[in-house]
Symmetry: C2
């Protein structure tokens, strides 16, 4: 697991904004232009363009220029890596009863006071 931590930072940061998550969702339905991504948001094209650049720098979006349009598509790899990072902790909410028991116990102590 040779995670590039800076890239992981960028991916989670990119996902920490609702507008950008909306763009990811839209792109998961197929390629579209920056304008297509900007339209459902109520901000300026410039602002939407910046969001696309954040996704791009996180490696989550590819862009190709076609005439005057910039066509974006989703690159799934960083999403998969982020998902793998999280699934490491799956043992907390599934399957590993010992750890789960500890968590529950801590929770009960907290509620007692």
């Amino acid at each position: 697991m040779v995670e590039d931590q800076k890239e992981v930072d960028r991916v989670f940061h990119a996902l920490s904004n609702q507008t950008r998550r909306g763009m990811v969702r839209q792109l998961s339905g197929g390629e579209c232009s920056v304008g297509d991504l900007a339209r459902p948001t109520r901000m300026s094209f410039a602002a939407a363009s910046k969001h696309v650049q954040v996704l791009e720098k996180a490696g989550m979006v590819n862009r190709r220029v076609e005439g005057r349009q910039h066509i974006c598509s989703l690159r799934p790899d960083p999403l998969r890596e982020a998902s793998e990072w999280l699934s490491f902790y799956e043992k907390f909410w599934a399957g590993n009863l010992d750890r789960l028991a500890r968590v529950v116990e801590a929770d009960m102590k907290k509620e007692k006071k």
Copy 2:
């Protein structure tokens, strides 16, 4: 999927920092005090304390005060929700594009506001 978008923002933001991911990893090995979380980082206690607060506000960490120590434990729910958000796109990198498109469409209808 009744996502509180602000909470999702906070969870991904909390994960977008290597120091905080390290704390999550450490906490996954069991409860520990703020000091225990601060020690492996090379920053001041105050800085580490702020990081813990970010995790707390994201709902990922519980704290109970025991004497002069603040004992932290991992709360798995927000991690699970983030993981579910991501795994929604698993179909994307697993290659079943038609199915993804259909699921996305259904989800967008559900989230219409």
